[in-house]
């Protein structure tokens, strides 16, 4: 029925429902110090060891904007092809909580630092553009720890005041798969830029997920629910599936959907109501009088533009055009900056086609098996490059190369040395090969006769025998040629 095979629809009775998703991603800015103080931001430090008087909101303490974080936010905006606002305003979002020392979070409400932009997704059936509504800077809160003591809650303020970028998408996402692609792409762009490490386990990237459903073809948006603070792509997808089906069930049952904030219970795989619209906080936003509006000049922005590296979309385009990679190959190689760096280092001195195949094929499989990131690869780009050159110049066959590769995975060994030490060099001397082939024909006289009488299928048998006797080292091309002559 659907023209688009990846279209995600929920069927109930005779109705088809489309799911509409918008994400508010909270990305921790990569920065040595916090947004308004000089405290360190290292992950995993002892509780309350990275807290300044400002972070703990002591009387008379004042925030001072960290210029580096501003640059990081603008760079991210540039990476999202977004409008950079030369004037933005920090507001106070007022609410009480034990891990919010000031009693307000400094955020940007009306005038964010970055305006509308876009992210391009590569989906199986083509590209899709997701609109970015805005990006703003804000402080993170501290952490409340409820399970260390039966009666008391402990508060760790290490995270208090850490800079976050809230990146708000337009409601352009339509499926859990698109959410997956969107988060990965966003993460990839920020990692290319060095503005967020995207580490979801450490909480550097988390999202509030807005979900609504509507009958297919409808132009109106349904009532949305916001699922708060989901910290993995898998959970986002599970939460969306659950929530969309819950909403469809309600509609099919003739009920209405309440606009509310919900929590995703990862153990039970369900979303639960946290608070309704009526109970929503009145945050009493107003411009923070301790901070002047943030104004940046054209020069400031232009300077940052000049620091922007080639981003995944541009890199992909170049790989396809310059190296004749397929879009599939290019996508894989640009998906994260470490992989593309590795690839580009390998092809500095070796054949692109072979490098592509070896990285996407052997290397990824081997790393996957050992559960390693590309940055932890035992084989350096230089040595992989050497291996490829040994194949390319005929020193070793592809088959032998695999043996060498396996040994290289055990430690960053020079393939040249492995080949020499283990005498794996390909036999390409025609005289030596002739002797070898003569012997094989001699040993299989009957088969040779059968071949000559027309059983041409036996050619493969002879090639196999020669390779076996040579220990796989015989140059297969030469073996073919000589065999044909001799037989």
């Amino acid at each position: 029925m659907s023209k688009n095979k990846s279209e995600y629809l929920i069927n109930r009775n005779d109705n088809q429902y489309e799911v509409v998703i918008g994400l508010e991603v909270h990305a921790q800015v990569t920065s040595e110090s916090k947004l308004f103080s000089t405290s360190a931001t290292k992950f995993g430090a002892e509780p309350n060891t990275q807290v300044s008087l400002v972070d703990a909101a002591f009387p008379g303490m004042l925030p001072v904007i960290n210029e580096y974080c501003v640059k990081q936010a603008i760079k991210t905006g540039i990476g999202l092809k977004a409008k950079i606002n030369k004037r933005s305003v920090f507001d106070r979002k007022n609410y009480f909580y034990a891990d919010l020392p000031q009693g307000y979070q400094i955020s940007q409400f009306k005038d964010p630092i970055v305006g509308e932009g876009k992210v391009i997704l590569d989906m199986p059936d083509g590209q899709k553009e997701i609109g970015i509504e805005r990006l703003h800077l804000e402080q993170d809160a501290g952490k409340s720890i409820h399970d260390l003591d039966p009666k008391n809650t402990f508060v760790d303020l290490n995270r208090s005041g850490v800079a976050l970028m809230e990146i708000v998408s337009k409601p352009d996402l339509r499926s859990p798969d698109e959410v997956n692609a969107y988060i990965k792409k966003l993460r990839s762009i920020m990692r290319y830029l060095g503005t967020c490490d995207g580490n979801m386990q450490e909480g550097s990237l988390r999202a509030d997920v807005n979900v609504s459903v509507r009958k297919k073809g409808s132009k109106e948006f349904g009532t949305r629910c916001e699922i708060k603070n989901v910290n993995s792509i898998k959970f986002m997808q599970m939460a969306i599936e659950y929530e969309a089906n819950r909403q469809v069930d309600l509609i099919e049952d003739g009920q209405t959907i309440d606009q509310e904030t919900r929590l995703f219970d990862t153990k039970k795989n369900e979303t639960r109501s946290m608070r309704s619209k009526e109970d929503a906080h009145d945050y009493r936003y107003f411009p923070d009088p301790d901070l002047l509006p943030l104004e940046v000049s054209d020069d400031f922005i232009e300077n940052l533009k000049s620091e922007i590296p080639e981003l995944p979309d541009e890199k992909k385009k170049r790989f396809i055009e310059k190296f004749k990679l397929s879009p599939y190959e290019a996508n894989i190689l640009v998906s994260d900056i470490e992989t593309s760096n590795y690839f580009e280092n390998v092809i500095k001195k070796s054949d692109v086609k072979l490098a592509t195949n070896w990285i996407i094929g052997e290397l990824f499989a081997a790393l996957n098996e050992k559960n390693l990131e590309i940055t932890e690869s035992p084989i350096s780009p230089g040595n992989l490059s050497k291996l490829i050159n040994l194949i390319k110049d005929g020193t070793i066959s592809g088959k032998i190369a695999k043996t060498v590769f396996e040994q290289m995975m055990e430690g960053d060994k020079d393939p040249q040395k492995i080949v020499e030490e283990k005498e794996l060099k390909q036999e390409s001397d025609p005289k030596a090969l002739e002797a070898l082939i003569d012997k094989v024909i001699d040993d299989n006289r009957d088969k040779a006769t059968e071949y000559k009488s027309g059983k041409v299928k036996l050619f493969g048998f002879f090639v196999g025998q020669v390779m076996k006797v040579s220990g796989g080292k015989a140059n297969p091309q030469l073996v073919n040629e000589i065999l044909k002559k001799k037989l």
């Binding site: 009387p59 008379g60 020392p101």
Partner: protein
């Protein structure tokens, strides 16, 4: 010298520099007088022993090049002082001892001054009579049972009673100038951004400004010179060229154009205030100034605007006093209960009133009608001043609509209390400098002050005008030491 405490700051500096007096002698004299003056309740926290020690140390190796060499000084208890309790006049900070120093006080100690103690003030500087202090009201040395003004009431009382040669206060809507006016002393509210707010317990961030309170204009200029510095730790601090105010002080104000705003003739203003203002105009003319009638058309809206903006900011600034991290905590059944009990018991009635007003005007549905509109009016008030300053160099007004009132007289009438700030509040809203100088007495013999308002960053000019007029006015405070038994 037997009358050390009667000397002005400038005289004391002079005498210490010429070694006629030691820091110990001076410090001892002020400590002794302070100790005999407990009835005034000017101090919240005394630090006399440390002060005497520091004075002794200073004398062992005196650095006489400093601007305040070995001068003892008590300061308003809104300035955070390292290792000395800082309460902001509130129960909620009753036990709070900062590990850090405010920039303004640090500047003072850097010039050789010595901390004697912390002076009483209205709770979180919210009040005009010092009656909202958790630590009790302060007596005005002019007359028993008279308020010293507020919120810097401990400061004005201490300077007038000569418990400290000079002091600093903070002024959000008149909290330096009104108490100065009530006690026959001089108080300067500098341009917003002149003195760092770092380490000052915040009331309303866009209005708060520290400033000197002194016995005369020259002393005031000297202290302003010390406390006004650009500070990277305060994002609203402004990097402008600061004068050496005391060195550049001059009585030559010939040809200065002084504006008289007609809107300050408010309904029901006592005749003696009107007369004082007229007298002030004559003094200014005598000094060679030119008097020009001006209009500040939005003056009427200043007070309501202030009582939206200041509580709004305060409601947010005071959210940090929640019993979690420091200060007073009342035990509760759970977090919310603890918050409610801590803040109900820890804050006094006036502070609670302002938090509620501030919370209300920022609430969704009311924000546009109150806070946003107030911000627009604030801009209009500022524009009024900008227009006026195209024609004049400074503006002369009364400091307050009345002389000091009786303790308890206005405590049940907040609006009448708020009206005290009617002449001072527009200056804060516009971020301008203003100085109050004593200019006469009312029928009861209580002091009355005149306010000179300047252009932004033009402290030198209003100090000069004040200096010139001070000589013509030749004001004498009638203080009988009635509280010393």
């Amino acid at each position: 010298m037997s009358d050390i405490t009667k000397q002005s700051l400038s005289e004391l500096v002079e005498n210490i520099k010429s070694k006629k007096l030691s820091s110990s002698e001076v410090t001892k004299a002020f400590v002794e007088r302070s100790e005999k003056s407990k009835e005034l309740n000017a101090y919240i926290t005394e630090d006399y022993a440390n002060a005497l020690n520091k004075a002794k140390k200073f004398d062992e190796k005196p650095n006489l090049d400093l601007k305040l060499p070995g001068i003892p000084m008590a300061v308003k208890d809104l300035f955070c002082t390292r290792d000395l309790r800082t309460t902001a006049g509130s129960k909620i900070l009753n036990n709070f001892v900062p590990t850090y120093e405010s920039t303004v006080t640090q500047n003072i100690w850097n010039e050789g001054a010595i901390l004697m103690g912390k002076l009483n003030c209205d709770e979180f500087a919210m009040g005009s009579s010092n009656e909202t202090s958790f630590f009790g009201n302060v007596q005005n040395p002019i007359d028993k049972n008279l308020v010293p003004g507020g919120s810097s009431g401990g400061s004005s009382s201490a300077v007038a009673a000569q418990l400290t040669p000079i002091t600093i206060g903070t002024d959000t809507g008149g909290s330096i100038r009104q108490p100065a006016s009530f006690t026959g002393t001089v108080g300067l509210k500098p341009t917003y951004g002149s003195c760092s707010r770092y380490g000052i317990v915040a009331f309303a961030s866009s209005l708060d400004q520290a400033g000197p309170m002194a016995q005369n204009v020259k002393d005031c200029a000297l202290l302003q010179e010390v406390i006004s510095t650009y500070d990277e730790k305060d994002s609203t601090s402004i990097d402008f060229k600061r004068n050496e105010y005391s060195k550049e002080l001059t009585k030559d104000i010939k040809g200065k154009k002084i504006g008289i705003p007609k809107e300050y003739r408010v309904d029901g203003m006592p005749k003696e205030i009107e007369d004082l203002w007229k007298k002030g105009i004559e003094y200014a003319k005598d000094c060679g100034a030119e008097i020009i009638d001006i209009s500040l058309p939005h003056t009427n809206y200043a007070l309501p605007t202030y009582y939206i903006v200041a509580p709004a900011e305060a409601s947010s600034n005071l959210a940090r006093y929640d019993g979690v991290k420091y200060g007073f905590r009342a035990e509760g059944e759970n977090l919310i209960d603890m918050y409610e009990k801590t803040r109900s018991e820890g804050f006094g009635a006036e502070v609670q009133r302002r938090i509620m007003i501030g919370t209300y005007v920022l609430s969704s549905g009311y924000y546009d009608a109150y806070y946003l509109k107030a911000q627009k009016v604030r801009k209009l008030i500022k524009n009024d001043f900008d227009d006026a300053y195209k024609k004049v160099d400074a503006i002369l007004t009364p400091s307050t609509p009345s002389s000091a009132f009786k303790i308890g007289e206005k405590t049940n009438d907040p609006v009448s209390m708020y009206l005290n700030d009617i002449f001072t509040v527009p200056v804060n809203l516009a971020g301008l400098p203003g100085i109050s100088i004593p200019a006469g007495h009312d029928a009861k013999g209580y002091p009355l002050g005149l306010q000179i308002i300047g252009k932004a960053f033009d402290e030198q000019n209003i100090l000069n005008i004040a200096y010139a007029m001070e000589e013509k006015i030749n004001f004498k405070n009638n203080i009988t030491d009635w509280w010393i038994k």
